[in-house]
């Protein structure tokens, strides 16, 4: 990835700030998302809640489906590949998706290495639970970061944990002396150059969205309150009672996250949100956020 690509690829994420990216599994759902005001859609075979239920190996979406979704909408189309699955990523690049999500929601193809994203022309977004994971993904070439949260649960607690952690660690780094950054780099296992950038800008060098467990307009607005640049909603929309209304309400909540009276009025009579899962009842081995450090 040459310097120009870094600017255009990080730049596309900057253009998405303040918006909602929605998981979709069909062209019809993609259109619902676009009409509701989504700023991008994420093409995948099954939403995370169904991946959790189905078990087995979760892989990249059928390329035919990606094509259909691309044809249906004018907003950017993203798609997920498995962690470390270089070829799935190359396939998605050949399809000219606008962003690849190297995602812990799918079953990892490589439990040691992530993809060398610097070798690609199109941008990647990756999940993180803390600033170490975030900066390691950025050093591998990610142009955008999101919290991992715990996808497919409808439970926002892990996204909150991860966003708070990243923001607290940014404040911690910003407060350091330059000579203390060496030790921080050693402890966090990240390049020191990125810590200098974080210290200077008091934020990650790329856009940071919230993801994983966001199910209601209030959840989405909460994540903005905690410093997210925008929000991914996975199962929360198409697993709710009324996806069209829920999608639009979440978009409006993110655009007006600092106006509780607006969130209150759009939250009235939305019907049931997706059924949620208590994180403590999920076995550690079944937690998707443990994948890919």
């Amino acid at each position: 990835m040459d310097n120009n690509r870094v600017v255009t690829n990080r730049g596309l994420a900057q253009m998405l700030k303040g918006g909602v990216i929605m998981d979709v599994t069909t062209a019809e759902q993609a259109l619902v998302a676009q009409k509701a005001g989504a700023i991008a859609v994420m093409a995948l075979e099954r939403v995370p809640a169904d991946i959790r239920k189905a078990g087995g190996v979760a892989r990249m979406c059928d390329p035919l489906k990606v094509k259909e979704i691309q044809k249906a909408v004018t907003i950017p189309v993203m798609a997920k590949c498995r962690i470390g699955h270089i070829t799935e990523a190359r396939v998605l690049e050949a399809l000219h998706v606008d962003y690849i999500d190297e995602s812990e929601v799918l079953t990892p193809a490589d439990e040691e290495n992530h993809i060398d994203k610097l070798q690609f022309k199109i941008p990647f977004v990756c999940g993180c639970r803390n600033i170490g994971e975030a900066l390691r993904r950025i050093s591998e070439g990610a142009s955008m970061i999101r919290t991992k949260g715990e996808a497919g649960t409808g439970n926002v607690v892990e996204a909150v944990r991860h966003m708070r952690k990243v923001q607290a660690q940014i404040r911690w780094i910003a407060s350091m002396q330059d000579d203390e950054l060496f030790t921080a780099a050693k402890e966090l296992q990240v390049p020191i150059s990125l810590l200098h950038e974080v210290k200077k800008q008091k934020r990650l060098p790329v856009v940071n969205f919230a993801a994983g467990g966001i199910a209601t307009p209030s959840d989405a607005a909460l994540m903005m309150h905690l410093g997210a640049d925008g929000v991914f909603v996975g199962s929360g929309i198409f697993k709710s009672d009324n996806p069209t209304v829920m999608a639009n309400a979440i978009v409006k909540a993110v655009a007006n996250w600092d106006k509780p009276e607006v969130i209150s009025s759009i939250s009235m009579g939305l019907g049931d949100a997706m059924k949620g899962l208590d994180i403590h009842l999920i076995d550690k081995k079944d937690r998707l956020s443990e994948r890919g450090n």
Binding site: L16, I39, H96, V97, A255
Partner: protein, 188 residues
């Protein structure tokens, strides 16, 4: 002087940073009342379909149209051009329609084809490093519209109709503040 930036979504902070470095006060515009306190408005880069929806929901859409028709200076980047143009060739979305231009959304194609190009801008001595991200292409313009810069293929990338600046690229993503300055100067 206070410059508003449509405050829902997109490259809001980037425009703010450029204006703050020029010591210009900024204001995020989300309601029609906000329009009364600004001397000019930036429509940032982002997703035009989202901005349309958000403007309508907050009651800003018609008020903004009225303001532009009564000469509010506008600096539209990328999605902003789509919002203002008379007609959008390849999408059924609505537009404010005050800019006499026909545009095509994502005219260069998906992100794979986003690019950076040094462009010549009328009145500037040095070239401008223009960042195009899933940019629209201006297919044609009316007689009142001046074309002040073109890409290498000859498509208009900087157009101006009286008090409306339309840029299909993102000056807010570079350190070059000449276009922001030009906009500010026309307001004085």
């Amino acid at each position: 002087m206070k410059i508003g930036i449509l405050g829902f979504q997109g490259s809001i902070e980037e425009h703010e940073a450029t204006l703050h470095s020029l010591e210009i006060e900024t204001y995020r515009v989300k309601t029609k009342e906000d329009l009364n306190v600004i001397d000019g408005l930036i429509l940032p880069g982002g997703e035009s379909t989202h901005m349309l929806m958000a403007m309508k929901f907050n009651g800003l859409y018609d008020a903004l149209k009225e303001k532009i028709n009564s000469n509010l200076p506008i600096f539209a980047t990328c999605a902003g051009v789509v919002l203002l143009s008379r007609s959008i060739e390849n999408s059924e979305q609505e537009s404010i329609g005050v800019l006499d231009a026909v545009v095509s959304r994502n005219g260069y194609g998906p992100q794979y084809f986003s690019f950076i190009e040094e462009v010549k801008i009328e009145g500037f001595k040095k070239e401008f490093r223009a960042v195009f991200i899933r940019a629209p292409i201006v297919r044609s313009v009316g007689t009142q519209v001046k074309v002040l810069a073109r890409d290498k293929m000859g498509n208009p990338i900087f157009i101006k109709q009286n008090h409306i600046f339309g840029l299909t690229f993102h000056p807010e993503l570079t350190k070059d503040d000449r276009l922001h300055k030009l906009f500010i100067e026309t307001i004085h």
